[in-house]
Amino acid sequence: PDRERDIFQRTGLLSETAIGNNRFTEMEQELGRDEPRPLYMDFQTGPLLWPYCFRNDPRVLDAMLPYQVNFYGNPHSRTHAYGWESESAMEKARKQVADLIGADPREIVFTSGATESNNMAVKGVVRFYGQKKRHVITTQTEHKCVLDSCRVLESEGFSVTYLPVQSNGLIDLELLDKSIRPDTSLVSIMTINNEIGVKQPIRDIGHLCRSRGVFFHTDGAQAVGKIPLNVTELNIDLMSISAHKIYGPKGVGALFVRRRPRVRLEPLQSGGGQERGLRSGTVPTPLAVGLGAACSIAQAEMVYDHQRVSALAQRLMHKITSQIPDVILNGDPDQRYPGCVNLSFAYVEGESLLMALKDVALSSGSACTSASLEPSYVLRAIGADEDLAHSSIRYFYYYCDYYPLWEMVQEGIDIKSIKWTQH
């Protein structure tokens, strides 16, 4: 079989293996043909080539396939049937996204993902109102794209306040109130943190910002579709949405931009004026349809999934904390999304623990920061000790059905932690 694979590879036939044969991804070559594949529990990122996890809900794929196979028209072509049907699919997807967050379809702009949405929101709004308003507020635990956009704005002469978070990961509302200046244009605070799962008091923040006349942007990538969100109730002016966090395709997202009261922003991407002039470029119809389908499925299944995830998370927490000493849950235990569990194991180094748990694909820190060996900046912000920050592991799962896993994980962790404390 290896010789066969060699031949396939050399003649370039590997990518066209016949129907029914296994496809050899990099991981399979590493593991060897017969070894079973590890479980993918890292649902908050998407590093692996071959997603075992539930990253592409079959219902979403089913909605997308017709637009990859037959209905491949450009939604901006006004003159023929292919264009019209693509356009109507795109508008239907827009409505599905809007319904999930309680917005108007005209307030949704399709982008290439939450990173682009965050960039658009932060840089666009601040630059537009930059004549009179020169101040931005954000937190220290935001996603890298928000922090980096703020850094760029600082280099353009704006002043940025990075609010610290308390040790439970939540921001202090009074501190936020004091930080808002007359020349503040934007407050950007994410709804649910992607590393520790903490849920910020969005309703209060929105109310505060509205009363002070400041725009409120929230990175809702981890929250949309998982907890009920209504942008009108919560006084949100801009919200970033990511498709692949809710089982949609990778490479598409959306930005909610409020129309009443109108939020103006300077577009990042110039061109033919698509998406209300805010984001030029052909909208990828199949991806947008996937995003729409993912949103409507998330809306229908929100309650059911929340119950399931809470049950699984409780089970994980209970089993781990009852059998292993010195385990710390990072982040507030109540104000959180149950599906994101970030645990620190004292005396155990995170990366080595991950490598020891070779049967489970997790992540230490978050995908964006896991390339470097620095402890996570989010954990540092909540005041975790340096050594604990090094040893944190994040479990995030959603539709997980891995019942036999917990017993295996127990054995794995037990063995490893015992070994390490003997050093």
């Binding site: 029914g20 079973p36 071959w50 079959p58 539709y399 059905d401």
Partner: protein, 84 residues
């Protein structure tokens, strides 16, 4: 009428479970089985004929979806997971 829609529901349930078992992917298979069971359990006491009819329609569409996705999954099979 009630008897026939009940028997329709039961046969739809069996067909859905039978199709769901064919998913090659562990995740999709277990999710589909669980979701189908829970959905039918939840709607067990529905009486309104219109609602019953629309739920059955939805069930049939989901059945077709599962059939299509099972086929796609079989075309692009991967190795088994460690839990299997």
């Amino acid at each position: 009428m009630a008897a026939s829609s009940r028997s329709q529901a039961i046969s739809l349930y069996k067909m859905l479970l039978r199709e769901s078992r064919k998913f090659p992917s562990y995740n999709y298979r277990t999710y589909a089985l669980r979701r189908v069971r829970d959905a039918f359990r939840e709607n067990r006491t529905v009486q309104d004929p219109q609602l019953v009819h629309s739920l059955l329609e939805e069930g049939h569409q989901n059945l077709q979806l599962i059939q299509r996705q099972v086929t796609v999954g079989q075309l692009y099979k991967a190795q088994k997971l460690i839990v299997e």
